[in-house]
Symmetry: C2
Subunit: 460 residues, 2 copies
């Protein structure tokens, strides 16, 4: 039955999309999974719609033949949210890459969901605006994928996450209906907040096809600073003191000593092999200078070893190079390794203790691990460079990840600050939210009664 349905589906999609219906094995293989260790089936076909109407028709076909859909952005996620299952159709949003409109006066942009954040920011510069889209998860992810996973990243401490930076969405629901959520007004009290319901739903409730994003003014000046500390505790106390002093920092990243060692090796740098804060300040030249000076003083009071800062763009990039390279530097500690990454987020008062307890687990393990985090948000990551195919190592990493989640939950935190649930954190979600997950499941069942939209994700 499935086979016949698949045959009919493929026939209709080929006729709808022509060369944008693809069964080439190489293309299918590159759409089987995301950037993580999760393994996926190879999709039977990958389609590349260009419009809301095409996405709607694709979903209607899949609804008719009960074929599961995996919406696919850039595949840069790390919890398996776009991992393919058997007999599923992969719907890539890659060719929905049009920037539909930009309003400089109202400071928003409406884009198709395949537009990446770098593409949008380049466009904003090109057309001469002094605006940018500030949510920066590191990867040049698609904005649709970022919305679907409630992405966050280094700038969230000042600018917020995708939750805070989306005004409205166009979504194709599970029966192929096109709906508009939110709008272009800066606030609204009109009914249920469907925008925020779809943000973070990881493609399980519908396909986000267009997004209206808030834009921020480019700061007059950006300054960068780095400073290292004897202990992680000192570094985090410094961050808490920054915040209590009302110093607005656009990025506050912590790299532990192992990560710093990795970066020194990878990029031929000579930073202290010690817990290190990377800071970035956005604002007027006066404000940025004032903040940097205050930060230097507070860091000193907490025993910082060194405080270097600059407003020069090239110097700033050089200073932050260690942070930019951190993921590949971690993998390079063990050439040929594959990365296993986990993240949790706790109230900032608990962060030092959470990291300390995490590190005490890591030192007892045989696995190599580095730690880095968006500590202004109380969010940190552990990266394990694993031997590909070594299931013992994978099991151990998974166990440690579970322990870290338990520690974070015990402290009032969450099992994931920004990576999402996907496949990897489903049990953790259940542990964190208990019977609230039943409410989530009821919503999923009501909006996707045939369970065709990214089935198996989020829920066990």
């Amino acid at each position: 039955m499935i086979d016949n349905n698949l045959y009919q589906l493929h026939k209709e999609l080929r006729s709808l999309l022509g060369t944008r219906f693809i069964t080439d094995r190489t293309v299918r293989e590159t759409h089987a999974t995301d950037a993580s260790y999760h393994k996926g089936s190879i999709p039977d076909a990958v389609v590349f719609p260009k419009s809301n109407a095409e996405v709607s028709k694709i979903v209607k076909c899949c609804d008719k033949y009960k074929i599961p859909i995996i919406p696919y952005g850039t595949g840069t996620g790390v919890e398996g949210a776009v991992v393919c299952i058997e007999d599923a159709l992969c719907v890539s949003l890659n060719e929905m890459n049009e920037i539909i409109s930009v309003s400089t006066e109202d400071r928003y942009a409406t884009v198709q969901s395949g537009v990446t954040r770098n593409q949008l920011n380049a466009h904003l510069t090109e057309i001469g605006t002094r605006l940018h889209f500030p949510v920066d998860p590191g990867a040049d992810a698609s904005l649709g994928g970022m919305a679907a996973t409630r992405a966050s990243g280094t700038c969230a401490v000042l600018y917020g996450t995708m939750l805070d930076n989306v005004l409205g969405l166009t979504v194709i629901t599970t029966d192929g209906t096109e709906i508009q959520t939110g709008g272009k007004a800066i606030k609204s009290a009109a009914g249920y907040d469907l925008t925020r319901l779809f943000i973070g739903s990881e493609g399980t409730l519908g396909i986000i096809t267009e997004i209206t994003l808030k834009l921020a003014r480019l700061p007059e000046t950006i300054s960068a600073a780095i400073c290292s500390f004897h202990t992680v505790n000192d570094a985090i106390n410094t961050v808490i003191n920054f915040m209590n002093a009302g110093i607005e920092i656009a990025r506050i990243e912590l790299l532990d000593e192992i990560q710093m060692d990795a970066v020194n090796n990878y990029s031929n740098l000579d930073y202290e092999v010690a817990p290190t804060l990377f800071l970035e300040f956005h604002g007027s030249t006066n404000t940025v200078t004032e903040y940097s000076e205050d930060a230097d003083r507070i860091a000193s009071e907490n025993g910082s070893v060194d405080f270097r800062w600059t407003t020069d763009e090239n110097e700033r990039k050089r200073l932050w190079q260690a942070r930019y390279d951190s993921y590949f530097a971690a993998l390079n500690l063990r050439p040929g390794s594959v990365g296993y990454v986990t993240d949790v987020c706790v109230p900032i008062s608990q962060l030092a203790m959470c990291i300390t307890e995490t590190k005490s687990i890591l030192v007892k393990s045989n696995l190599l691990a580095t730690m880095l985090g968006h500590v202004g948000d109380g969010n940190f990551h552990v990266v394990f460079p694993l031997e590909p195919g070594n299931s013992d190592e994978l099991d151990e990493a998974q166990q440690i990840s579970n322990q870290i989640v338990d520690i974070a939950l015990e402290m009032g935190g969450t099992c994931t600050g920004e990576h999402g649930i996907g496949l990897g954190k489903r049990a953790a979600l259940q542990k964190e939210h208990g019977n609230a997950v039943d409410i989530m499941r009821t919503i999923k069942l009501a909006l996707d009664p045939k369970n065709i939209m990214n089935p198996g994700k989020i829920f066990i």
Copy 2:
């Protein structure tokens, strides 16, 4: 059947709550409706639970006997969201007024939902924090009611609305289950955003019993300013220029000339009878001075008649008196009148035109009307002081409100920036969101299959 069910319900609730189960007519009458023109049935009983467990038991009873529940905060809403229907039980959250915990380090407070914003802010001062909860809808509303209606108000331009200022909720769902949404971490990617789903759901999906709120640092200095203009257009261009210049303003309120006349009469003041901006700046003394000077210059460039500002607290309160008094001043234009208030919100580039078109409708009407708004958000209100019981006037106000909604929607705006849907904007919601309302309705039906939770609100 209903009668017997009601009898059984009341018997069980009386036994559960004792003197906090109330059938006294005066109490019931004061819980029939909100602060608006909407008429409600008198509830058969009003209950005053004190704990999550009691709310859960009440909901379980109502679920068993299929008796509708109207969750009730302070009754300060204006779109009829808490208006009672026949045979319903009014669940007042008034005695759930405990401030459960305050974390100065993580800057959050967890409160029961009957705690009002003034109560919380007084407590934060009393215990010596330098923190405040900044969402200010004017009325001293309960924080649960504010969450349930996605409240906003004068400070939203700087601090955001309830959407932005809640970390997590305790909710009793429609079958009496207690769930926790969100948490205490500043961000999370753990599953569907139930927090934001319940915020703005107006009591139709469950009863919010506890809220964890983000707190903001009290500003070092607050300065206030007012300036008047020849036209509304000049005033709004000034606001747009403020924003483009990156001047951060905590409150930006516009009162039209009729509203200013009303206030002069009501409070014996001598302001210009002209469109007037009321401004408030929060920050360091230097920043606030700098912003005020920049604002003065920009206002002058847009032809402001006068610009008065101060950082002295008493002087500041005096300066803003006109704004504080505005609603009662409007009603006082016609002693004994009852207020009909409507609100819309548009992208700020459209605000001047939206207000101009609105005023051209108002001048053609026989009704008296004043206009005021949170113009930094593109949000404005029209207040009609109506003769009580005059249905012709009510019809005309309703018709004009519909026309204003049409104008706002045409400009990419929303039918309500902050008052919510309740009973009054149900048709407008349908007009604004079309088939997205079907998705909202599907969620309502899935989470409240017996339709006992504030039935008849939001949806036609």
